[in-house]
Symmetry: C2
Amino acid sequence: MRVVIIGAGNVATHLAKVFKAVDVQVAQVWSYHYENAVLLANQVNAVAIEDLSTLDQNADLCLLAVKDDSINELVAQLTGFKGVIAHTSGSVSIKVFENLFDNYGVCYPLQTFSKNKSLSFSNIPLCLEASNEKTLTHLKEVANKLSANVREVDSEKRKFLHLSAVFACNFTNHLYALAEEILTANGLEFDILRPLIEETASKVQNELPLNVQTGPAIRNDNETIKKHEELLKQQPALLEIYKTLSNSIKNTR
Amino acid sequence: MRVVIIGAGNVATHLAKVFKAVDVQVAQVWSYHYENAVLLANQVNAVAIEDLSTLDQNADLCLLAVKDDSINELVAQLTGFKGVIAHTSGSVSIKVFENLFDNYGVCYPLQTFSKNKSLSFSNIPLCLEASNEKTLTHLKEVANKLSANVREVDSEKRKFLHLSAVFACNFTNHLYALAEEILTANGLEFDILRPLIEETASKVQNELPLNVQTGPAIRNDNETIKKHEELLKQQPALLEIYKTLSNSIKNTR
């Protein structure tokens, strides 16, 4: 089995490394920035290519791990590829390959990747979709080598899955950032919140979040809410977020 | 050293158990609901008391771990207590003890406690404040037995610390709940998000959240944001939260 990887960003890097770790050969790496392709290729014993016309069209799998808005344009340049072609995006439909390929699909890893932070791939949900049964079987075989958490999710559901991930990951991280803003403005360090952040995520690993909600809004403790709003009166943006989320908590009880 | 505990809720329960674990004697437990005091007292070899007038006034430490709005009323009933008296609240000032006691303080454990979920206390920030040096030394001695993460935080800073914890814990958990709402409405299970939630919290254990922000808003990917807003057009409350937090992320770049 030989894989070619289009992209050298966070997702491409993690995927290439895990392929190497499970002895799947990464044959080639291409990136808009050739120097990034070289950097990644060197780490996984692959060949960096500068020109897409030199792509190995007989590789088994071509995986596009690039920015959402580059997928369309790149797909048009890969039409001669003979193996299975798939992208890794949460929000781009499988239809992007339609009429250009026969055997295509999606392999969306539901995780937040940073280049410099290693993580275990074995537990990451890999959400698959394919143009036909044969291709689905092929993608499953590959995905099962990477993770024990392989699922089928069609494009329509995947859109909502990606949206839910924005709430659970991107927005959550932003709340951490706002908490840090409040702390540093008052001579405190972010460090003090880290055990709380870890435990908050840990609690929902075995429970549904609705069942472990705590804080003044769920207790309808309007005295504390009023005090907090008073503390934020000079920061209208933070105050708006405080009010919006507190009201939302009250409304879900 | 003998401690009496006022309260039998989540915080009181965790504190009583960790006192027992480090061989500090919990002498008595009182609660508004006597049956809860009995349940907790039985777990830590303490005596449950029904009437505050039977409180052991010669214990070394009296710890109030009750709802914020009960502290005032209870403090007035404990005026004969001869040891150090302290509460565990994030948002109540140390002044609640003023003129009623000489040796008083605050020991605020910055963590989210659920009765049925055990957690390691050794890393939890215990935020101390005291009426005088002698009392501070006493509280530090006790706190150091419970955690390796003991800090001094005065009432003014503690208010903002508590506020930041609402963002990092209560609001974060609510975002998990909203993510679950989106998933279940589309035939997906919350389970699929758990590895992502864990990794999102794990990432900020060694980095500042500002440095690891991901998602469409920080990339200024307005195409994806528009698609997401379209998916939420039938849910005005979720749409408002999506817009408010996306704009806030854009403004912090």
